[in-house]
C-alpha cells in the first residue's frame, strides 16, 4: 500500500518537472542564500578581527626596553627562570612586509595564526627552515621562504618562528619585546630585580574597535536572518502551490482507501527528501556564491573542500550542518501549514473555485486585521522599546506586519486604478491584475522583504562606514602617540616638540563618579584637532569655546544616556559644577566620559601628571621620532605611529564593506526567482482567463506585453512600499537594537542614489522573471486557447 501510494505521489513530479524544479530550486536558493550570508558574515568577522588585532597589537601587556630598542634573548630566559610567563617577539621589515617572529611554545593561547591545539606542523614551523605564515595577497610578495597561506592574517604581515625571524632579519639573539601573559603565577619577583632595563607597557585596550565591530556583526546577523525569512517565503509559496495542485489526487487516494495518517506521513517523508536534496545543493551553491563574491578564494576553498590552508577548519562541518538544518527547518515551517490543510481537508467537499475565492476573501480580511494589529504593536514598541528583546520584537512585528499588509494594500491600489481606468483594455488589465494578486502575493511579499532588507543593509553599512571613518578621524587624529616615564621626559618632549613645530596634546584622565555613574574625566588643551575632528550628536553653537574657557564640559553619549543628561544640564566634577555644552558619539566605549579644559582639570585633580601625549606632526612621523630620540632619549618603544595603524585598519574594513554589497545581489536574485516561479505556476491557470480576451480580438503578443507590464507594475508598487519599510528597519537596528545592545546609537544617514539603484535592480529582476512566462504566453498555440471553449477538456 505504502509503495503504491508513494509512487502515485511522486508521479506528480515526474509529470510536472517544472514544478519539481521550482520547488527544489526555491529551497536550494533559500539555503544557498543562508549559507552565502553565513560565509560572508564569517568573512566580515575575520576581516574585522584582523583589523582589530592590527589595531591593538597590545592585547597583552608588554615588556619593552626603556630605550625602545631590541634586547638579548638572555633577558627572556632570565625572566622565564624567575617564573615570569613572558613570550618573545621580534618584528622587522622583510621586503616591504612586516615579519613578526614569535615563540609558539610560550605565546599566549590564541595569539597569531599559531595554535598549539590545531593541526599545526609544529616540527616544520620550528625547525623546517624558513616557514612563514601570511595571507594570499602578502604571500605573493615574499621570496625565498616557504609561505603557509593563512587568510586570517592582516595584509602586509607575515608571522614566523622567532628563530626563523631572527635569521631572516639578520638579528641573531635579539628580541624587541616580551608579551606578558595575563595568568601569571603568584609571588613573582619584581621586574626591576631581573630585568632593570625593561619597562612594562600596559595593554592598549582594544575595546573601542571591539564594541564597534560587535555592533556591526549583530546587524549583519539580523540581516542574515532576514534573508532567510525571504527564502522561507519562497519555499512556503512553492510548497503551498505544489500541495494545492495535488488536492484532487489526495482526495482520490483517500477515497480509494489510503488512511489519512499514512498519507500525511508519506507527504512529510517526501518533503524531507526534497529538503535534504535541496539543502545539499543549497549549501554547495552558497559556497559557490561566496567563492564568486569573496576576494579571499583561499577561505572559500577551505570551506568547500576542507583544504586545510591555515590550520583552522573547524567552521566547515558546522556550516554544512547549519545549512541542512535550515533547509529542513525551513521546509517544515513552510510545509507545516500545507500539511495541516491536507489533514483537515474534508474527504467529500469538492474543490469549488467559488468556495476557494470566498476562503481567500476571508483570509484577506484576516490577514489585513493581523497586519494592522502587528503594525500597531510595532508603532507602540517604536516609542517604548528599550531592550534587546523588545528591539527584536519590534523588528519582527514590523516585518511580518508589513509583509501581511502588502497584498491588501496592493489590492486597494489596484481597485483605485481600476476605477480610474477609461479604456476597456485598461479596465480589463486592472481587473485581471487584481484576480492574479492572490497567486502572486507570496512572491511579492518576498520581493518587498528583499528590497527592504537591501535598503536596510545599504543604510546600515554605509552609515556604519561613515561613522567608523569619522570616529577614527576623531580618535586617531594625532599622527603620533607618545608615553613618557617621568616629569623630566615630559618636559623634554614638550621642549623638543615646540622646537619642531609639533603640537603636544596631553592625554590625562581621572576616574570619577558622575550622577552615580562611573566615568573618566579628561583634561584637554585647546587645539584645532578637537574642533575639526570631533562630531557632536548634539551641541550648543560654541561648545568647544565654552569648554576650553572652562565654562562648560562636553560628555559622551553613554554618560548622557545613563545619567539622563541633556544639553545645559549641570555636571558635578568634584567641587566644580559646569553645564553640558555638547554630547559626542563615543562608539564602543563602555563607560562615561567628560572632557574638561586642561586648567580646570589641573585645579580639580592636582595629583595627576600627564604621561601620554598625542602629537600633531606636520612632516614624516618617523623623522620626528628619530629626532626626538636623539634629543631626549625617548625611544621608539614609547611611541605609536597612529596614522599608520589608522590607514591599515581602514583598508581592512573597506574589504568588509564591499563584501556586504553582495547581500543585495543575492537577495534580489532569490526574490526574482520567486516571481518567476509564481508566474510559471500560474501560467497554466492563466490560459482560461486569457482565452476570452483573445477570442474578443486581443493578439497573443499584446497579451504577452500586458503580462510583462503587469509584473513590472507590481514590482514598482512593491518597491515603492518597500522603501519606507527598509528605512524603518535600518532605524530600528541603528537607533533601537544597537542602543539596547551597546548603549549608543549609530547615526543614520540616507543614501537616495543607492536606493534608486536598488529599485532599478528590483525592476530588472522582475522583468527577467516575468519575461519568459510572458514570452511563452505570447506563443501559446491557438489550439490551447480554443480548448477552453470546448465542452470536453
Amino acid at each position: 500500500m505504502t509503495r503504491a501510494a508513494f509512487a502515485a505521489l511522486l508521479s506528480h513530479w515526474v509529470r510536472n518537472p517544472v514544478q519539481l524544479f521550482t520547488l527544489l530550486a526555491g529551497l536550494a536558493l533559500a539555503t544557498g542564500l543562508w549559507s552565502g550570508v553565513q560565509a560572508i558574515n564569517a568573512e566580515a568577522r575575520a576581516s574585522y578581527d584582523a583589523a582589530a588585532s592590527a589595531l591593538d597589537e597590545g592585547r597583552y601587556d608588554r615588556l619593552v626596553a626603556r630605550d625602545g630598542g631590541a634586547f638579548g634573548q638572555d633577558v627572556f630566559v632570565a625572566l622565564r627562570r624567575a617564573g615570569w610567563l613572558v613570550s618573545p617577539m621580534l618584528s622587522g621589515d622583510l621586503g616591504g612586509v612586516r615579519l613578526i617572529g614569535i615563540d609558539a611554545l610560550t605565546a599566549p593561547a590564541g595569539m597569531g595564526p599559531v595554535n598549539l591545539s590545531g593541526n599545526l606542523d609544529l616540527a616544520g614551523f620550528l625547525t623546517g627552515g624558513d616557514q612563514v605564515f601570511a595571507n594570499g595577497a602578502t604571500a605573493s610578495r615574499l621570496d625565498g621562504v616557504t609561505v603557509l597561506i593563512t587568510p586570517d592574517l592582516a595584509d602586509d604581515t607575515a608571522v614566523a618562528d622567532i628563530g626563523t625571524a631572527q635569521r631572516l632579519l639578520d638579528r641573531a639573539g635579539r628580541i624587541d619585546s616580551l608579551l606578558v601573559r595575563p595568568d601569571q603565577p603568584r609571588n613573582l619577583p619584581p621586574l626591576a630585580q631581573i630585568a632593570p632595563d625593561l619597562t612594562l607597557q600596559p595593554a592598549q585596550g582594544g575595546t573601542d574597535i571591539a564594541g564597534l565591530t560587535d555592533s556591526f556583526h549583530l546587524n549583519l546577523t539580523a540581516f542574515g536572518l532576514l534573508s532567510f525569512a525571504v527564502g522561507i517565503f519562497i519555499v512556503h509559496g512553492a510548497i503551498g502551490l505544489a500541495f494545492e495542485q495535488r488536492r484532487g489526487m489526495v482526495r482520490t487516494l483517500r477515497a480509494l482507501g489510503l488512511p489519512l495518517n499514512r498519507l500525511i506521513g508519506l507527504m512529510l517523508a517526501e518533503l524531507l527528501v526534497f529538503a535534504l536534496v535541496a539543502g545539499v545543493i543549497g549549501v554547495a551553491l552558497g559556497y559557490v556564491i561566496a567563492a564568486l563574491l569573496l576576494p579571499d578564494v583561499a577561505a572559500t576553498l577551505r570551506g568547500l573542500y576542507g583544504a586545510d590552508v591555515s590550520g583552522t577548519l573547524q567552521l566547515r562541518p558546522s556550516w554544512w550542518a547549519s545549512g541542512l538544518a535550515i533547509a529542513l527547518a525551513g521546509t517544515l515551517l513552510a510545509g507545516g501549514s500545507a500539511l495541516w490543510g491536507i489533514a483537515r481537508m474534508p474527504l467529500l467537499a469538492a474543490a469549488q473555485p467559488r468556495a476557494l475565492a470566498m476562503a481567500a476573501g476571508r483570509r484577506a480580511r484576516w490577514q489585513m486585521g493581523a497586519a494592522l494589529v502587528l503594525l500597531a504593536v510595532a508603532f507602540v514598541l517604536g516609542f517604548n522599546a528599550d531592550g534587546l528583546v523588545t528591539g527584536f520584537a519590534l523588528l519582527g512585528t514590523l516585518l511580518i506586519g508589513a509583509a501581511l499588509a502588502l497584498p491588501p494594500v496592493l489590492n486597494g491600489v489596484l481597485a483605485f486604478a481600476s476605477g480610474q481606468a477609461r479604456s476597456v483594455t485598461a479596465q480589463w488589465f486592472w481587473a485581471d491584475t487584481r484576480q492574479q494578486l492572490p497567486g502572486l502575493s507570496l512572491a511579492l511579499m518576498a520581493l518587498m522583504l528583499a528590497i527592504a532588507a537591501n535598503i536596510g543593509v545599504s543604510t546600515m553599512v554605509s552609515s556604519f562606514r561613515l561613522t567608523f571613518t569619522g570616529f577614527l578621524d576623531q580618535r586617531l587624529a594625532s599622527e603620533l602617540y607618545i608615553s613618557t616615564d617621568s616629569a623630566e621626559q615630559t618636559a623634554a618632549l614638550v621642549a623638543f616638540a615646540e622646537g619642531a613645530g609639533a603640537a603636544v596634546l596631553p592625554i590625562q584622565s581621572a576616574d570619577v563618579q558622575i550622577a552615580g555613574q562611573p566615568a573618566e574625566v579628561f583634561g584637554t588643551r585647546d587645539h584645532a584637532t578637537y574642533r575639526d575632528n570631533w562630531r557632536f550628536l548634539q551641541s550648543t553653537p560654541d561648545a568647544w569655546d565654552a569648554t576650553f574657557a572652562g565654562q562648560a564640559v562636553v560628555i559622551n553619549e553613554q554618560l548622557a544616556r545613563r545619567a539622563g543628561l541633556a544639553l545645559g544640564d549641570p555636571v558635578e566634577i568634584g567641587a566644580l559644577t559646569l553645564p553640558v555644552a555638547g554630547i559626542y558619539g563615543d562608539y564602543g566605549n563602555p563607560i562615561g566620559q567628560v572632557v574638561l579644559a586642561l586648567d580646570a582639570f589641573a585645579l580639580q585633580f592636582p595629583g595627576v601628571e600627564p604621561r601620554q601625549f598625542g602629537l600633531r606632526v606636520a612632516g614624516d612621523p618617523a623623522d620626528f621620532v628619530t629626532g626626538l630620540t636623539e634629543a631626549t632619549g625617548i625611544g621608539a618603544g614609547q611611541t605609536i605611529d597612529q596614522a599608520g595603524i589608522k590607514a591599515l585598519s581602514l583598508a581592512i574594513f573597506e574589504r568588509t564593506f564591499t563584501v556586504t554589497t553582495a547581500l543585495n545581489i543575492l537577495t534580489l536574485a532569490v526574490a526574482g526567482f520567486a516571481i518567476l516561479m509564481s508566474l510559471l505556476t500560474l501560467a497554466a491557470m492563466r490560459v482560461p482567463q486569457l482565452a476570452p480576451a483573445w477570442a474578443m480580438g486581443m493578439t497573443r503578443a499584446a497579451l504577452g506585453r500586458l503580462e510583462l507590464l503587469r509584473a513590472v507594475m507590481l514590482a514598482v508598487l512593491t518597491a515603492a512600499l518597500a522603501l519606507p519599510l527598509g528605512l524603518a528597519l535600518a532605524w530600528v537596528l541603528l537607533a533601537v537594537v544597537n542602543v539596547a545592545a551597546f548603549g549608543w546609537q549609530l547615526p543614520m544617514y540616507l543614501f537616495p542614489l543607492d536606493y534608486a539603484r536598488l529599485g532599478g535592480f528590483a525592476l530588472l529582476a522582475a522583468v527577467l522573471a516575468a519575461g519568459w512566462p510572458a514570452w511563452r504566453l505570447a506563443r501559446t498555440p491557438p489550439g490551447d486557447l480554443l480548448k477552453v471553449f470546448a465542452n470536453e477538456r
Partner: protein, 341 residues
Amino acid sequence: MNAKALILCLLPLSASAQGFAGLGTEVDGFSTPAPDPVFDFPADHGAHPDYRIEWWYLTANLEDANGTPYGLQWTLFRSALAPYEAEGWDSPQLWMGHAAVTTETDHFVAERLARGGIGQAGVVADPFSAWIDDWALDGDWRTLQMRATGTDFSYDMALTATGPLVFHGEGGYSVKSAAGQASYYYSQPFFDISGTLHLPTGDVQVTGSAWLDREWSSQPLAENQTGWDWFSLSFDDGAKLMGFRLQQTDGMHYTSATWITAEGETTPYADGALQVEPLMTNTAGVPVHWRLTLPARGVDVTVQAVNDDAWMTTSVPYWEGPVTFAGSHQGRGYLEMTGYD
C-alpha cells in the same frame, strides 16, 4: 616503567592528532634501546638527545599533620624532533613540564613548554639539575630539592633517598610489547619527602614518600598500542610493586611488573603474570577502582583513587593521581591512565 611519553604529544601534531597512539610510530635516525644495558651514573641521570623521548617523572604520596592525604606530581618530558642538540632556537629538543597537586576534593594542574638550546629548559647530569622556567629538580640523588608553580598553587619540597636505584625489566631494559619495543627504565622509589604546598586555601606542611622514574626510548610502544594504565604501589611492609597494562587496538593487553623488596631487590614479571581489571569508572568514563592480582606474590588488592577527578587538563590530557589499596595487602601509591580522552 611508566611509558609516560606525554611529550610525544608534540610529535603527533606534525602529522595528525594521533594522541598516545603516536608512540608506536616508526623511528628514523634515533638510537634504540638494546638489551643488557650498562648504565653510567651520574651521566645517565642527564638527557639523551639521540633518543626520541625521555622523562624525569616524580610522584609522591603526602599527608599533613592531621593525616589528610595529598598527591603531588613533578614531571619533565623531553621530546626530540631530530636526534641531536643545537644551540639557540634551532634546537630540535622540546621540553614540557607538568606539575600537579591532588587533594581529596581538588586537583591543581600547571603546564610549561619550552625549547632546548636557549637555556629555558634542560637537564644536566653533574651536578644534577632538571629545570623548565622556574620549576626545578636539583641535587645529587641522595638528596634533591624540587619546586614548581602554577597560577593557583606552588610547592617547595626536599627529598632524601633511603634505598638504592632499582632497574625494571632485564637490568633496566624494559620490553613493552610482544614485538619487542622497549625502553631503558630505572627508578628511585625510596624517597622520603617533606615540604610546603602553597594552595589557594593556605600553606600546608606535608611529609610522605616519593617515587622518581627515569625512562628513555625512541619507540616505546608497538603500533597497535594506544595507551596504558600504570601503577606504583608501596606496601605497608616496605615492599613495592610497579606494574602496567598496555592497551591494544585489538582489545588485548600487555602487562609487565617489577616486585621490589624493602631492601631494593627486584624480580621482573613478564606479560600475563600481573592481572589488571577495571572495576568502576568515574563520571567521565575513566576507571578509578581497579583489581590487581599477582599470584606469584600472593597479591590480590583493590585499588581506589583518593580523588576520582585527577584529570590532567594539559595539552594532551590524561589521568594521574594518588591511590590507596586494600585486600591481601594494604598501602598507597600512584595511578596513571592514558588513552581515555
